[in-house]
Amino acid sequence: MNGWRTLLPNAWYVAVREYRSRARSRSFVIGTVVLAAIAFVATQLPVVIDLSMTTSQTRVAIVVPSDGLPPDALAVITQGLNGQQGGREAYLVSWLPGVDPAALQSDLESRKLDALLIVVRNPTTKDLAFTLRTDIPRDGRPVANITTAVASLQLEDRLVRAGTSTAALRAPYSFQMEPIKPNSPSTNSISAEVSSSILSTGLIVLIFMAIITYGVWVAMSVAEEKSSRVMELMLNATTPLQMLTGKVLGNGAAGLTQYGVILGAVVTGLLAQGPIHKLVVGNDAGAQFGGLSPTVLVAFMVLFILGFLLYSLLYAALGSLVSRQEDVQSATSPLMTLIMIGYFMSVFGLQAIDETWVKVASFLPFFSPYMMLARVSTGHVEIWEFGLAVVLLLASIVVALFVAARIYSAGVLLYGQRVGLRQLLRMARVSR
């Protein structure tokens, strides 16, 4: 095959034609717009969640005796309900010393208040007695939180009555954390762990979707040329290798364009998150890009492009075996299975990122786009490991290019025959 010598410029012309006809098609334009809109809306989810959180704040009124409580009673209660400091407050507490509970009944009935806590001192035991007037379910989270806060107040009150000074109660003490094994790496916070795992899954889904969607485009465009019979005209004008290369690059570029637009919508959405948050919720929470470092982005792009090239070459080869576009789905189903296996392996692999099978699979060309990405995005990888996976992927692309070109050049002239595995292997061995 003398394809290498003359790969250009024809592969380029084919790529440009593929790109144009793809990018001008109505399905491409509509698909891009719809997906970009969905992506933009998705980035505004945190705003929606915050909005629903704000309205779900529990309003609690606490009626207490006008005197005789420990000096920092209010602090004990709010700390018990809303945690240490910072963060979003789940409870809006009104502290009402010496108020008649009956005065608040109308607020409770009109739902301006969710709960009324009445605190009195029992004249005989001298202990505090609590009454919680509310329709919140007995096993609801607010009841549990209020119960805990109340217990702290009771304890503090008893200690103060026993003569312990509040200063002694508040005296600092030591609390330290240490890993199970001295060199254990897990020092991340829960939110960082969660956000990096969500990010990894998200990136894996992105690669998965891209390979399936755009790979099928390649197979479709090959089958289209066959079914419209323009193939023979093309075969006289170009070599199969030129056609194959052009198709993969053209459709890949169209796919990248669509991805670029969607990513643009995501970035715009994230940047707009702050202002929109301010507008809708009232305060500026700011955008959160959890764990998306430049390293991960570069690794994602590299694996995305190489993975797409490898799979779409095979998609083109399989697409050349069918005569009609309707048959593309069934002809490419083995490839689909392979992609699904890689996808599920990586989703499970995320939960077991340091297992040997995950490490091994992250080097195997058909799985490395997912598995290596999973390892990179969770930070469990050495630079040479990534390099090795990329080199193996590149090598397999070169092999796939030759095998696909062989199958392609034999397949494009076949009409109406069903091609079995044995014939496929023979095609790959001998040219035309």
Binding site: N10, Y13, S21, S228, L233, N236, A237, T238, R432
Partner: protein
């Protein structure tokens, strides 16, 4: 200086598509491939174009192996016509020309010229799917010649064309020939071959049954045909009594008889004169290509031409 097909064989699974065919096609010649469906015409063309590789044998153009010949040497009109349905005519013709190494501007100029010559300049901006079959075929022909190829191979170029468009295409054919191009086409329309071809090859089940210049092919037939018409005797029954003469056709205008090899057809004329007939028409004709085709490919052709007998129903 010629296209030489040397003992080319090709097998597809169980089917021997070509069995050692050898042909020489001279430059600037119009060459016709004749053959029934499945005789191997398309396979032969695809092998010449290096779209298919032969199992054995070689194809050379001016002494160079076909796989080494620049692709723009060949122009090809495949039997299975196809264009990019959604692409407009100008864009796709320019695309095909550029694949053959024509510059973008030159390509557009050529395309507009040819559309003009085929009297369809207004189709430049239409999508291919909006054109009629016949007009699509013209576009495909233009696609095959845009890059000014030295050799033009066309698979059944006239099928599906109405007489007016067929005449248009023949004119384009002759123009290509005048420009010094070599034209090779396959067909089973004998009149077209007699009208255009200088040389032919008749293929049957992967073999060349007969090949060469049209005149040689005609002579290669052992058949001699005599056409005779005499006044007052449309039957000419005595003709059948002559040794080695078989009446093959009785018509209003003349009666046609085949004279076997070794018998001089002039005997027929002498006999007629001897019987005192008034002769209106006497002709020693060369057999038509159709007759030669039927003679050479006869057996299979006859079975293909007649329906299988009706199945008997109880």
């Amino acid at each position: 200086m010629s296209l030489i097909i040397d003992s080319v064989s090709k097998r597809f699974g169980e089917v021997q598509a070509l069995e050692g065919i050898s042909l020489e096609i001279k430059p600037c010649e119009v060459f016709g491939f004749l053959g029934a469906n499945g005789a191997g015409k398309t396979t032969a063309m695809r092998i010449v174009l290096d779209i298919l590789r032969p199992d054995s044998g070689t194809v050379t153009w001016n002494g160079t192996l076909n796989s080494k010949v620049p692709r723009e040497t060949w122009g090809y009109l495949p039997e299975e016509r196809g264009l990019y349905a959604k692409m407009n005519v100008l864009e796709q013709l320019v695309f095909f020309a550029r694949l053959h190494g024509v510059g973008a501007k030159a390509a557009e100029r050529e395309v507009r010229d040819w559309l003009e010559r085929f009297r369809i300049p207004e189709y430049a901006d239409r999508r291919a799917e909006q054109l009629s079959k016949g007009n699509q075929q013209k576009i495909q022909f233009i696609a095959a010649i845009l890059h000014d190829p030295e050799v033009l191979l066309m698979d059944e170029p006239f099928t599906g064309l109405d007489p007016i468009n067929a005449a248009l295409l023949k004119e384009a054919f002759l123009e290509m020939k005048e420009r010094g191009k070599t034209l090779i086409f396959s067909t089973h329309q004998m009149e077209t071959v007699e009208e255009l071809c200088e040389s032919i090859a008749i293929l049957d089940r992967g073999r060349v049954v007969v090949g060469g210049s049209v005149r040689e092919v005609r002579r290669s037939s052992g058949r001699q045909v005599v056409r005779l018409a005499v006044e007052g005797d449309p039957e000419i029954a005595w003709l059948a009594t002559l040794d080695g003469v078989v009446i093959t056709r009785r018509g209003q205008d003349y009666t046609e008889a085949e004279v076997s090899r070794g018998v001089d057809p002039v005997v027929v004329l002498q006999t007629a004169l001897g019987r005192g007939c008034k002769i209106h028409h006497f002709e020693i004709a060369e057999p038509s290509l159709e007759e030669i085709f039927i003679e050479k490919v006869g057996q299979i052709d006859m079975t293909e031409r007649t329906l299988a007998p009706k199945a008997l129903r109880a």
